[in-house]
Symmetry: none
């Protein structure tokens, strides 16, 4: 499926060079000017042809929506630069925990350290789990899963609130237990109240105020 015309190869090469040199894909106008076309449509049709042949991917409607597909850049690509684990700060009301807006940073952390696998870090606020050695400001290492067993420490969502507590289920009722006598357990009736388990704690990382 990869039989690019000489012209098409030239256009493709131009796109590659442009990204290299400018850090972003070219516009139709830039392609036309760069290759000597006097009509934007010349560039457009070439792009369509390249997309059809699988050399690039076009994002409709967006500026500079050209993406190289076939192997061109070194290796690795998206997979190798895994970017580490996202650190979730405050969870904005109504947004999924892993939504971009909640991500404060990314950290490389060896996944071999945690079992089951670590999926993200959550900054803990409050002292309700103090006696479990989880303090205010600690980063909780979380494995993303909706299933929890009794006794596990979970990241739970109650409406717009995200909380870290020990999980205990009995029939139709779930209790979220703090590890600090100054706080009270939370009782949830699964029939009425909304409860979402966002994950289970598989570790803790503390990095300041020792």
């Amino acid at each position: 499926m990869n039989e690019l015309t000489v012209k098409q190869q030239r256009v493709l090469a131009f796109i590659q060079r442009h990204i290299q040199g400018h850090g972003r894909p070219p516009t139709r106008a830039e392609i036309a000017q760069g290759l000597g076309f006097s009509s934007l449509n010349a560039a457009e049709t070439h792009l369509r042809a390249l997309a059809r042949k699988g050399a690039i991917e076009l994002t409709p409607g967006g500026a500079r929506g050209i993406r190289l597909l076939a192997e061109a850049s070194p290796e690795g690509g998206p997979a190798a630069t895994a970017a580490g684990l996202p650190l979730i700060g405050r969870v904005a009301a109504g947004s999924p925990v892993l939504a971009e807006q909640n991500v404060e940073a990314h950290f490389e952390v060896d996944s071999a350290l945690f079992r089951p696998a670590a999926d993200y870090l959550l900054r803990v606020s409050g002292m309700s789990m103090r006696d479990a050695g989880i303090l205010d400001g600690d980063l909780l290492v979380v494995h993303r899963t909706p299933e929890a067993r009794n006794g596990q420490i979970v990241v739970a969502r109650l409406g717009d609130e995200v909380t870290v507590k020990r999980f205990e289920r009995s029939d139709r009722r779930v209790r979220l237990l703090p590890a600090n006598p100054d706080f009270s357990p939370i009782e949830i009736r699964l029939d009425h109240d909304p409860l979402v388990i966002e994950g289970i704690a598989v570790g803790v990382i503390r990095n300041g105020r020792l």
Copy 2:
């Protein structure tokens, strides 16, 4: 000139991830939406700040005219952190802490997570620092240095024993304070007793039994 705000770092990280994931820099609108701003200008101001501080370069008038400058994204990750941090288990009598024989494993841990820099991990045994949130089996993240200030948690060596305690010095005397009323402080006279500070704690990692 490189003193980025936490917010600015987040914006920068978002841009890096966007380029990684979409092959082109984000627009102001995409930044705003991704980070939860409801005004485009929030993104614009951050970009100006980042450009002023030399983190990025802006192309006036062009769509997605954002360019990363400082080295951050390329690879670096696994390669740069090469062998990762050595995990020290029990320290054999008479051997230096970092001696080969004491190294149990190596783990990749992002050095940006700790300050000052992390040099090795030490498996803590015992509950003498319980009230500081350091439990039995935890991995103490240690910065190697012979200097400690009052109040810091240190890795100290007394003869053949390696212990983790809070450091407090007064003139010719050093006291190593546990963070657990069930244990007693250790008093050392620098004139007579041998004391070596192997490093100061800069973090804690817990990976099991939550």
